[in-house]
Amino acid sequence: MEGLERIVREHPFFAGMTEDQTNLLAGCAKNVRFEAGQYLFHEDEPADQFYLLRSGRVALQIAAPERILTIQTVGESEIVGASWLVAPYRWGMDAKALELTRAIALDAACLRGKCEDDHSLGYELMKRFMPILIQRLHASRLQILDVYGAHK
């Protein structure tokens, strides 16, 4: 458990949190590992955890008829999964490990409970999630713009 607390405390996503807060979060955490090709989760399944990647790479994908569309890839030190934050807590896409991936999985129900009990913890967590979500939103907008087209 000490090892997990240290890993959570030292993950860049939680930088700046107090030790008490990271210890609380570590209570919801476990180490997980995915082989290349293995799915972290599938679209429309319950979003019951989120992942802090420690190593490896994950593709966020949406299945279309006869093909899989990769929206984004994320890697070491990045997070996978935000649907656990918002009802109805179901994944909006698939997440597939592209290579051997090690991560910390945080149980969503456990986290939501701790955030309800301790709003400061919830606020600290939101302060870390929101910039990432905004960055990804901006990146998605740029992707949609298709800026490399010949006439852009």
Partner: protein, 287 residues
């Protein structure tokens, strides 16, 4: 804006009459992508240029267009190399010149990438699509003098895997142990196992010292604007960034005003600008 010419040799002076092209002959034409071609032009005398400069190329009987030089400034014997996207009448004609055909060359023009400012600093080069072409002379120069720089990070974004420009060369650079290189595509094909997402998403993943970094960005203007913002978020100030602008250049020497943005002429004062000089200009709509 200060400009450092990387070559120790003096750049060839434009013709006595800067509006009269010199004549070159196409030595080689290579198709890089479905709509992108690289032509090598043979000149009567060695043609020296600084990374980031451009020439006005004439397809006789069709017209003239500003084209970045994409070759190695230290190897004039390789010929004068330009990479051209076939998007209009002139670029179509230029990109379809056959070996032996004549081409008009005016230049080299413009302020290129300042290389000396990055000595002893980390270097981050952010490229989108065809933006790799005008940055390639800079990359050649930095890699040829690798010991003069700290970390060298190349971040390249492309529309799809099949649109990756100079792919063989990117793979060759990736094999070096002294360069960090990351490639991403906006839209992946089924056989692509690399990164997916816009090139700006690579910036937070790269390792460099933001307080001692010089960044060079080239690509579509929107990409550069957001790329510069991501570099600022990473802690690199506008003063340590350089961006290459593209505008409709006609005379190439700051006379006609076609490429004017605010108070500057892209052909004469650019195409490379320091971030703090450019930021007030590219953030204004309709300029």
């Amino acid at each position: 804006m200060s400009t450092a010419l990387t070559s120790e040799r003096p750049a060839v002076l434009p013709h006595a009459d800067p509006m009269v092209p010199r004549i070159g002959r196409v030595r080689k034409r290579v198709r890089d992508l479905s709509d992108v071609w690289t032509i090598t032009v043979e000149m009567d005398e060695p043609f020296y240029f600084a990374p980031g400069q451009f020439n006005m190329l004439t397809a006789f009987g069709v017209g003239e267009s500003a084209i970045s030089i994409s070759g190695d400034p230290a190897k004039p014997e390789d010929g004068l190399i330009h990479t051209i996207r076939d998007v209009g009448r002139v670029s179509h004609a230029l990109s379809h010149l056959d070996p032996g055909d004549v081409v008009g060359v005016r230049g080299p023009y413009g302020e290129g990438w300042p290389v000396d400012v990055a000595r002893h600093s980390d270097v981050v080069i952010v490229m989108g699509g065809l933006g790799l072409a005008p940055l390639r002379p800079l990359i050649y120069t930095i890699l040829a003098n690798r010991k003069d720089y700290g970390k060298v990070v190349l971040l390249f974004g492309s529309r799809t895997p099949t649109d990756i420009l100079f792919r063989a060369e990117l793979e060759q650079w990736r094999r070096r142990l002294d360069v960090e290189i990351q490639v991403t595509v906006d839209a992946a094909t089924d056989d692509w196992f690399g990164n997916v997402g816009v090139v700006t998403t690579l910036i937070p993943r790269a390792t460099f010292d933001p307080g001692n970094t010089v960044a060079y960005l080239c690509g579509p203007e929107i990409m550069m604007r957001f790329g510069a913002a991501a570099m600022r978020d990473a802690g690199v100030p506008d003063e340590a960034m350089y961006l290459s602008m593209e505008r409709n250049m006609k005379c190439g020497i700051g006379l006609c005003g076609h490429c004017q943005i605010g108070t500057v002429f892209v052909c004469r004062d650019g195409p490379v600008f320091r971030g703090d000089k450019l930021r007030p200009l590219i953030s204004v709509k309709e300029l």
